[in-house]
Symmetry: C2
Subunit: 254 residues, 2 copies
């Protein structure tokens, strides 16, 4: 099938997936680019590919592939220089209970994170430091938006991510399972390097401008911060989270 019209049903579905409302409704999202589509792990379901003729006989897939004209692809792409390939992928549901049952687990909780690059980078660092689950609050940016998916560079397929979370609820669940919950907070008195992380741990990262919501900090077990040479500065949210994960994973693997 070769599509040249923007009114084709498949093209209309792809266009709708640029919108969170339809991603939620259909439980699908877009993965665009050659390298990115190759990084989709086998336990994720690719519903179909949309590609230009250039990719004919070059896509390994048992499912459907729709070929489209260059001009159609350009219109459904969100990149400046489209490579001519995208996959429409089914979202995955993760079982909170199963994820949090892990022995010596490491978890990340994101409260109202707003920048797509920061969210993507946190997912990437989480994959690198062996995080067992990421919980994202309702009011955060959508993890399935094109910018976030792109900046995870494939890591979105490697860490269980639970979205639309009520963070107070999540903190309660984790604490009930003896997972220590730390708030990364500039106003903390203890440095992260002073903590002995010898069991299951979760760290909460807050909004880029406002930090973690007060009611959530109060429910966490401890406030921690990163030692800086000049304490007047603050770090980028994804950097702060990554340093915390580095420090914890280092201690765990001593």
């Amino acid at each position: 099938m070769y599509i040249t019209s923007m009114s084709n049903n498949i093209i209309r579905e792809v266009l709708s997936l640029h919108n969170k409302k339809f991603r939620d409704e259909k439980d699908l999202f877009i993965v665009e680019g050659k390298k990115q589509t190759e990084e989709i792990e086998h336990d994720w379901q690719i519903c179909y590919f949309v590609a230009t003729k250039e990719f004919e006989n070059k896509i390994q897939n048992n499912g459907k592939i729709y070929y489209v004209s260059d001009s159609v692809f350009k219109k459904i792409s969100t990149t400046v220089t489209p490579q001519g390939i995208m996959a429409i992928v089914k979202k995955k549901n993760f079982d909170i209970d199963k994820i949090t049952n892990k022995q010596n687990g490491l978890f990340v909780i994101l409260d109202c994170l707003q920048d797509p690059g920061n969210l993507g980078t946190i997912i990437r660092s989480s994959a690198a430091f062996g995080v067992d689950g990421i919980f994202i609050s309702k009011n955060s940016i959508d993890v399935f938006s094109d910018k976030v998916v792109r900046s995870t560079t494939g890591a979105i397929f490697k860490v269980p991510i639970i979205t639309e979370c009520n963070i107070l609820e999540i903190v309660k669940i984790l604490k009930n399972k003896n997972i220590t919950v730390y708030s990364l907070d500039l106003k903390a008195k203890k440095y992260i390097s002073q903590i002995k992380f010898n069991m299951s741990a979760a760290i909460i990262i807050g909004n880029e401008a406002k930090g973690i919501e007060k009611s959530i900090i109060e429910k966490s077990d401890e406030k921690i911060k990163i030692k800086m040479t000049k304490n007047i500065e603050s770090l980028n949210a994804s950097v702060a989270c990554s340093i915390a994960l580095y420090e914890i994973s280092k201690q765990k693997n001593l």
Copy 2:
């Protein structure tokens, strides 16, 4: 003076500064936004402000302030929701010799960094971890572009930055001053946590996709990498740099 025309000379100068060529020629750059302009340190020279009437009598400055109409400001702004204020700031020249003479100095060398957010974040982390100087290669993204300036959140005024560097030349200068130069490289055998950083150190960060150029790695003293739980992953360049700076600054302050 109240400007309503886009053909006004000041407005034309501001517009030209969105372009690296003219920023280089005039040695000026733009700092836009209320918080950002407030973060300009006193040892930087603000040539003039451009603002909407809203800011009348609200700007503390001995120099010139040009007031412009909302519609003119919108056209010279690079933000989605302009706040109505920008400063035109003179670039600063730093003396490499003076900077590198510092006892127990910590330096960052950037080879062909391309993403504005990454560069901004590295400058921000450098300020937080007490870096004494950042050297940026000729083929890197311009540090004075609006996106980079914005993502430093004021840190651009707190760390000496030397641009348009020949990195091989810089490595030579640093080594001559007994500063140990480390390449942050995924193929390294030594972990950064195994290194004893007890004297002056510099770390090189490479391009987001290709890493550090081979000839530069060869001239550095040692290759180091960050320990990850899953070694197949790589980290975002600004995250990798920040973790390295965190680790070094932690060791230095023990």
